[in-house]
């Protein structure tokens, strides 16, 4: 078996934020690789710096030190190459669903008629047809997150950065959208990096799980997930599922005890 090709590699990324008593280190030399067509989940205690990692990858924050290499080339950030779905469903309130979804295509300068076609197609796939002209205010939480997800997928980025995309949803919708995401990733051959606080979700969806430690954060461990189920529900019924789940729970539990001490 050939070794998977590395798409993005982070090497010794450090980042601190200014605090009252001097700089507060958040990322403390973060090193990990993301392969082509990978599905990596990042889990870690709350406030450990998961969103910060994404901001660094997306080129919104400059790391204090460390390098990022994208397909063999050292880059400062991946602006324009990532589809970043932020932790809150960030829709433009003055744009309709259709206009929100088309944002990325506008940015890329895609021909308008073609962009419209693509957007309509995605909206119907995600069960949002009929809501093209609705404003975000009028949508339910799940519909908003679906719109944000479409906006991220439709840009056809090299890497999808999804920051707790389903955290605000009920279990039902969540299972459904996990399935939709897996299908979309499968169809369009995307690389996905998913931040989640839900171990269950991480195991069910990912090929690999990166566990981060407490702040200042380092990579604690990386776990390969060997489930090859095609659906999030299938994965959850795999007999090995609970083993992975237990292992990852164990990793995070040790940290909570350490914090208490």
């Amino acid at each position: 078996m050939t070794a998977p090709e590395v798409q993005l590699s982070l090497d010794g990324i450090r980042k601190s934020f200014p605090g009252k008593g001097g700089p507060v280190p958040v990322l403390d030399g973060l090193t990990f690789d993301i392969y082509e067509r990978d599905f990596v989940s990042i889990i870690g205690p709350s406030g450990c710096g998961k969103t910060t990692v994404f901001n660094v990858i997306a080129g919104l924050l400059e790391p204090d030190s460390g390098t990022m290499t994208f397909r063999g080339e050292v880059v400062p950030g991946l602006q324009g190459r990532v589809g970043y779905m932020m932790q809150k469903d960030l829709l433009f309130p003055w744009r309709t669903v259709l206009q929100n979804v088309m944002l990325g295509l506008e940015m890329k300068g895609v021909d308008r008629a073609q962009a419209l076609d693509t957007a309509r197609e995605y909206l119907s796939t995600f069960g949002l047809s009929g809501f093209e002209n609705a404003y975000p205010k009028m949508l339910s939480g799940g519909m908003r997150q679906r719109t944000a997800l479409i906006r991220t997928l439709i840009m056809d980025p090299d890497i999808l950065l999804l920051d707790e995309p389903f955290s605000a949803l009920d279990y039902q919708t969540r299972l459904y959208l996990e399935g939709v995401l897996l299908d979309a990733v499968e169809t369009f051959h995307k690389t996905v990096v998913l931040v989640t606080h839900d171990i269950d979700e991480a195991v069910a969806l990912s090929k690999r799980v990166v566990v981060l430690g407490n702040r200042p954060t380092k990579v604690k461990s990386v776990h390969e997930i060997g489930l090859d189920a095609r659906s999030p529900i299938g994965a959850r019924s795999d007999p090995r599922f609970s083993d992975y789940f237990q292992t990852l729970c164990g990793e995070l539990e040790i940290q909570t005890r350490q914090r208490a001490a």
Partner: protein
Amino acid sequence: MASQALKTSQPSNPSQIPTTAQTPKASARTARKSAVRPRAKPGAVARAADTMLGRGIIQLLAVAVFFLAWEVAVRAGWLTEFLVGAPSGIWRVFLASMRDGSLPVDTWYTVIEAIIGFLIGTLMGSVAGLGLWYSAFVARLVEPFIVAINSVPKIALAPIVILWFGTGFVSKVALAVSLTALVALIAAYQAARDADPDLQALLASMGASKNRVFKSVIVPSTLPAIIGMFRINIGFALVGAVVGEFISSQRGLGHLIYSASSLYDLNTVWVGLFVLMFVGFLLYHVIDFAERRILPWRQVITTGQVQV
């Protein structure tokens, strides 16, 4: 249509979805609703009158009562007509000045001065305020100057403005500009600074340039505040025009009011004031109308929202 589209968006294979959790909650909700409905709600009378027509009738009634009381008080001798005027006298002056054409002309002058002053001042101020978003450095640099200039009561500038721009039309416009420009600048700058940083970050992650962020985030997200400021500025522009006319002018509602009051012609003063009031009211609603057209996303149905 909405419910239909919602249905198609449901999970495609319901057999695998845990549905039991949903049922008790849903039935509890309907139970609560039906328990509340039969009870007569407090404030039912107020709600029944709270329609366009209902409100209009009440408002007209209030105005009628006010003028009636005023007229009665003057006729009964409780108020001196010499000092407060009287509705019947006001009406007579109004008709006469409409007939000889002087009132429409005066009104026209004041309105045009105010509108031109409003447009120039608001436009310049808004553009400058939004422009400051581009450079935090420049913004911090000019901030103390803006604060200093803004703390001068602009009306105090009126004599200088008259000296510089003469006693005609231009000086009134200039005064209106001086009253509106800084308000617009501060409002626009504040709104631009408050624009959601996450939306800006999102666009940046898509590789957007600063100009693009300005166009796609800053301008649309500041529009509500800027249009809100229009309402304040239309009033200020009228103040500028009228004060300019007070000081030196041959025309305009300010001139009308000022010269009439020096002759103790209270009824004419009231005509000027009421026309001003009416003009301000009208312009306010023009802006309201524009707002509804420009910001459709803010108009999304408010029915079904929680009433506190």
